[in-house]
Symmetry: C2
Subunit: 476 residues, 2 copies
Amino acid sequence: MTLSQTDVQKIFNPVHVAVIGVSTGDYKFGGTSFLMKLQEGGFPGILYPINPKAQEIRGLKAYPDLKSLPVVPDLAIVCVAARLVPGILEDCASIGLLHVHILTSGFRESGLEEGKLLEEQIVAIAKDKGLKVIGPNCMGPYCPSAGLTAWGAIPGLSGSVGIISQSGGLTQRLTEYTSSLGIGVDKAVSFGNAAVLDSTDFLEILAEDKDIRVIAMYLESVKDARKLLQIAKAANQKKPVILWKGGESQAGAATAASHTGAMSGSQKLWQAFYRQTGVTRVRSMNECVDAIMAFSLLTAPAGHGVFLIGGGGGNSVANSDTFNRQGFEVPPLSEPTMDFLSRSVPTAGSIAGNPLDMWRTFIDADYLAQVLELGYKDSAISIIVVDRLIPRMAYHFPDLADPTPETIAYLKNRQIVKPTVFTIDSDGGDPELADMGARLRAKFCRAGIPAFPSARRAARALRHLYHYHTRQKRSD
Amino acid sequence: MTLSQTDVQKIFNPVHVAVIGVSTGDYKFGGTSFLMKLQEGGFPGILYPINPKAQEIRGLKAYPDLKSLPVVPDLAIVCVAARLVPGILEDCASIGLLHVHILTSGFRESGLEEGKLLEEQIVAIAKDKGLKVIGPNCMGPYCPSAGLTAWGAIPGLSGSVGIISQSGGLTQRLTEYTSSLGIGVDKAVSFGNAAVLDSTDFLEILAEDKDIRVIAMYLESVKDARKLLQIAKAANQKKPVILWKGGESQAGAATAASHTGAMSGSQKLWQAFYRQTGVTRVRSMNECVDAIMAFSLLTAPAGHGVFLIGGGGGNSVANSDTFNRQGFEVPPLSEPTMDFLSRSVPTAGSIAGNPLDMWRTFIDADYLAQVLELGYKDSAISIIVVDRLIPRMAYHFPDLADPTPETIAYLKNRQIVKPTVFTIDSDGGDPELADMGARLRAKFCRAGIPAFPSARRAARALRHLYHYHTRQKRSD
């Protein structure tokens, strides 16, 4: 099924939205939750709660059924019990309401014959009446710029990321996570069992969408592997496509069958998929968000030479190992850089070189800026990583001034020609430390400067960035 | 050089400590920092600051030189400039002060001829006079039960972990990290350039130490690989030995040469080392602490079947993948367990099985206890992992009561027969979330229940635990 621009408009930017199955009581889940969250998020369109027994729900006029509505809504959000869903779909079709998100669970994924039959009914009705059905068993569309934020980060942050996912929970988390880091979402969709609309339908439209620069997907199944391969390959040539495949392992695949009723496909098939499409392979929420951040905020690196700036000898050794393991070089610096460093770095207790082990980079924003300038001019260097070593600071120098605002101002004013990222490792069970680290990380990220919670995660995200652009160059 | 029990006593449990090279001014680094921190940490012995120009420093009587002291100190902490160190060592020997920690840097690791010669002088004096020298270029011994905490977590938490490390910074961090998680350290030593005493000397004594149950090492170099192999193999049969080898990669090895003047040895050599000794291989601070936590708090698992308890469909799929990838099984549950679950778990929106996707486990401590009891009785299950899913809670159910105290009470009162751990993933750039997650994690850990910040890190730590005990059983 190909989605038209009108379909995209109705699904992601609806004005009139019917929520079918909203409780009148205190029950705050399902349809009620969707209605509440849309109100909280400031949805600018008109909401129509449907409940045969209510006059008014949460300050809104309620309607007994779809036929009683004064308009044909753009989008229906169906939250009634599974056995009632086919009837509601018939009602939708009868008034010409063609765009339907089914929140309800209890279909094929239940493993029960009854659920399987109900899902087959949904597919048959959709086919017969031309309904564009999202789900069932999913959270549906999400679009902060349209105020369509019934779940996830509310009201959400509008930006240039597109998300296509079979898991409602993981999609919620993704929107919250990226939003906290100052990275906005243009369109996200959780599509669950994929009974009618599948990943390929959404990927096709997001690939063409000029507002979207990076696409992240979480998939548990695929109906037409060849089609996904073709569409993903084409999309990835236009913009980075990141795929987290849930159910890669045997146990994961078995769980996926209970989650979205999905057959996961073999590991070999997916390996071939990544190889042939060039799609970026991630395996966890953190890796997915780290890659989104790198692709959203950084330009293409010219090479794989990394300049590691930080403090601490063991830390410098460990960071060299980490970047080397991810395929990066930590090359010797050029003569002008070394001249400056050997003049300014003491021989005892520091290391003048790459990595640079020099505490002053940590507390003196001007000095750090001088070192960064040298890195930007150094032909051996394509990427710069600055470590912030929060943990020791927290214990040993709590009173020092924080040079972060100056550093952020410097980086924002300069036209940065080489990817520059920060690492702020604040893990360690100490809540105060975690809090300091998270705040510092958020400061950088919200200013558009990627900051990762460990060298390993920075190196992995930069590897994804480097590989994507290397492949793009080769295929030019 | 073999250390005797008297040496151990003098190094880790000294009563009289001379700090040589303490400033009288505002300068707070080097010897002054050591003196200050020992005072702050409540060192119960007697401190002797040495400074030729001072009468009193920080409320303590100062002495012009070692010869003027009223007693022979147990331990000297040498903080004077590198070129003065050989003279100080001669002074130590002349009064019979044989245990010396050299904080000072600027020796072999500087890469300069002068530094190399100075280090050779140190070695020669130590050999000639029988000095037990720790360092140079290191933080020296640390022992919370003796109040010897001049660095790291101060005053520190006494416990059963032993740490042997060439990096001062990483050792500080390790003691802070474990201490924050409620895991105490018995003895730690940062030994830098290893000019005289080497890792093997410390490993030998920590292996025999009845107060130590787990040993963690960070090494950049080794002087006698065959000796280390023999000692590590024997030590690892008595208690788990964890090794983080800094400088595994080419770039890391080059950095290690500038850090501790060390030649790192080939990767192949180290692979053979791990295989032959059974020592647990870790590659980062987080992995090291996670392994320490698992070995310190958990008993041997009988098998590799894991019961994953949590909520969220996509999350359950992802966790299955994660544990499968680390070599664990996520097996079907026994009939009594499934009977209970199919009665209590709704068919729509949840998954009754392994993994268990059931929100009630999250908010209802009694229900979780019932599920855990079934897991403890289930013969397919050897390990239980409970996910806490902090991130969605923070956004969607901020008002729910926290069942953590009841859950901790239940686990502490029960004699736990199967390793049981929690995962609390609070990463995501949102400082409030990070704070909530870190606090929750600390609550569990400080109660002696391991809690990890991601499923991946839990799985990796449990894999180390499982492999260690499997090897132990085979060699019995």
